[in-house]
Amino acid sequence: MSAPGGQLDDRAILDPAHAPPFPAAALTVLRDPQLRKNVAHATDVIQAKRALLVAEKTDWQELRSAASRIKEEALDHLGAYLKQFEERCTAAGGTVHWAADAAEARRIILEILREEKAEEVIKIKTMTSAEIQLNPFLEAAGIRAHETDLAEIILQLGKGEPSHIVVPALHVNRSQVREVFARRMGIEDLSDDPQALTAAARGFLRRKFLTVPMAISGANFLIAETGAVVVVESEGNGRMCLTLPRTLITLAGIEKVLPRFADLEVMLQLLARSATGERMNPYTSLWTGVRADDGPQRFHVVLLDNGRSSILARRTGRQTLKCIRCAACMNACPVYRQTGGHAYGSVYPGPIGAILTPQLEQMQHAQSLPYASSLCGACYEVCPVKINIPEVLLELRARVTDQERRQARRIFDPLYIGLRVANLLFSRAWLFHAAQWAGRIGLRFFTGKDGWIHRLPGVGAKWTQTRDLRGLPRQTFHAWWTGRRQAIGNRH
């Protein structure tokens, strides 16, 4: 159990402005073996399924290249495509709103709900709504938001936070789910069989689907050419929300736009395989505005910026906006697989979170995240739209360093003093040689007979606490090379 009292996890703070830095947050998780086991199991299963299906696709790399270019092209002309989307969606009977930031998006959504005199609203899983912290806001305004995705119900009823963008409750196991459902749905004799738990959720939500007249969704893609919206899902709760209510509100980041309907032929082949290891997810829905005899008769789209346009302005960083939120990068990430999602302090965890969150926060928060990586490149390799995540991580580290350097308190920071000294040494050959000579003599006192240094004093102890250090060799490479050249010269 991750926490007593049936709370799935009451310690996670997914607001980058208030979350502790990554290393501190990760420590809590690393001490929770159950949680680590749950995360490892889930990511192993998805990775194995994904690997099989990617291997059978002989044109996988060509699909990735096409997807990457399609997204780049959409971003290059983002303004024009958004205007086209707005025009077509409006012509089809939809209403398009623009939100510069999270507060504005929340206000727009609340205004629509108030106009409709809504007391309740049903929701399809959307990370964007979690990004703008919509649910607590609506709650405070007296409107109950019901999540309908199985994982989201588990988290909402158990007061937990999402730890993955495709399988948000992957850190929770069946007995934890059973406990929450039994308590919150009032079912005494519920078993912990996933089949029974799923059936309980089905029964719990059926009435809501049939009676609540308002729904909120996210969007996987917006189609500029036609003004259509696409939602990809598995359970059918999405189709319920998109079809049965009277009014539908779709909240979408501005980067979700695709130029053409036919671009889906690439995206839909990549998304399900990367996300869940399926050839295709059970349900994908596309709709355009409103249709007289089918589905909601009032339809709103809220286009959300909230920091995205500032990412667009960065040469290296802008590729972050190509992301189609498949989560393959976190399943593959050796860091995420140890820590799970909560340590990232954001609704976007894993490698994509490590580059997206600090940029969305305009480098004001989450500065520890670009360091939450070994730079092994596994994320880049699996990314279906070829986002070079390590490259962006490095650029962000540089920006964090530049930021820190300007802070007065860094003048006496041992790390920065060390780096300034190193800078001096490395830029002058004679100083460098002198330092090597001094170092060899100095370290000789600490080097054991086996040629290893087992214990250092002062700051050096931080290293030797956890690992040994090899002693310096008697001769530097430089000295050896010079000696060798002279020896050869003498022979001739």
């Binding site: 889930a42 998805i46 002989t58 044109d59 060509e62 290249s65 096409a66 270019r69 399609i70 092209e73 002309h77 983002l78 303004g79 024009a80 495509y81 958004l82 205007k83 623009w98 510069a100 995705d149 994982a151 588990i154 399988v167 069946r174 996933p194 799923t198 089905r202 049939l210 050419e225 259509a228 598995s234 359970e235 059918g236 189709r239 998109l242 079809t243 130029p259 309907f261 036919a262 032929e265 690439v266 869940t276 399926e278 295709m280 059970p282 349900y283 994908t284 596309l286 709709w287 355009t288 505005g289 089918d294 589905g295 286009l303 910026d305 346009s309 500032s310 667009l312 302005a313 040469r315």
Partner: protein
């Protein structure tokens, strides 16, 4: 609502400013409106498979295999046996109260009703949600089948029905003709010269793996999907 109109300008202004960052180096500056974008997709490398390689027979077999992998039931029949195949599937399902979209041939209903006692089928000429929810099953046609992923595509025409029709009943019987089955996803897009306004891509019955990655079939959508593949090869392509 003036604040919101300002936001539109603000967001678009920021996007324009971002594009200006690259304007000097970029031979193709950002387009201002959609007209300037005509032909933009020519630059996209489309070297992935855009057509299939299987024979018609192998394509049908693959479609059936993929559907079964998702847990769907598949029956194959000749076009003239269609009514009989439908009757058989419905009889075996044990379900009797049905709904169907208005474009489904009345003759099928008559044939099934003659053979199965207690069979009732309401055509959707504006049925209420409650009536659809009461139905035990639904019978529809489809626009297309994609063999590679075992996907059924509905464009929600008169024979495919409104979206809620194939959502609320627990059992979906879908009739697909071999001439409607393509091998790859891009071939489906080739069959849409005009982008459709309403689409549902269905790949197996609804499912979830949210609890410990155990795949559970049937969450909110129909728990059962039955597909009848009518082998109309060598005949006129299906008029849809």
């Amino acid at each position: 609502m003036s604040g919101i109109i300002d936001s539109r300008e603000r967001v678009l202004g920021r996007i324009r400013a971002a594009a200006r960052n690259f304007a000097a180096a970029d031979p193709q500056p950002a387009a201002k409106d959609a007209q300037e974008l005509a032909g933009a997709d020519a630059a996209i490398p489309r070297r992935y498979a855009r057509s299939g390689r299987l024979s018609a027979e192998a394509r049908m077999a693959l479609m059936a295999e993929r559907l079964r992998e998702y847990g769907a039931e598949v029956a194959v029949c000749k076009p003239e046996e269609l009514a009989a195949a439908i009757t058989q599937q419905i009889a075996a399902s044990g379900r009797r109260i049905f709904v169907a979209p208005p474009g489904i041939p009345v003759a099928w209903r008559v044939e099934v009703a003659n053979k199965i006692k207690g069979f009732e089928c309401s055509f959707d000429h504006g049925l209420q949600i409650g009536e659809i929810e009461q139905a035990e099953g639904v019978m529809t046609a489809a626009f297309c089948g994609i063999a590679d992923s075992g996907t059924i595509v509905l464009h929600h025409s008169a024979s495919e029905g409104r979206r809620m029709l194939t959502l609320l009943p627990d059992w979906h019987l879908c009739i697909l003709k071999a001439s409607q089955v393509v091998e790859t996803l891009p071939e489906y897009f080739d069959r849409c010269p005009q982008p459709p306004a309403l689409v549902t891509w269905i790949s197996g019955p609804s499912a979830t793996a949210d609890i410990e990655m155990t795949r559970i079939q049937g969450v909110h959508g129909p728990r059962f999907l039955n597909v009848i593949l009518a082998d109309d090869r060598g005949k006129e392509p299906a008029v849809h």
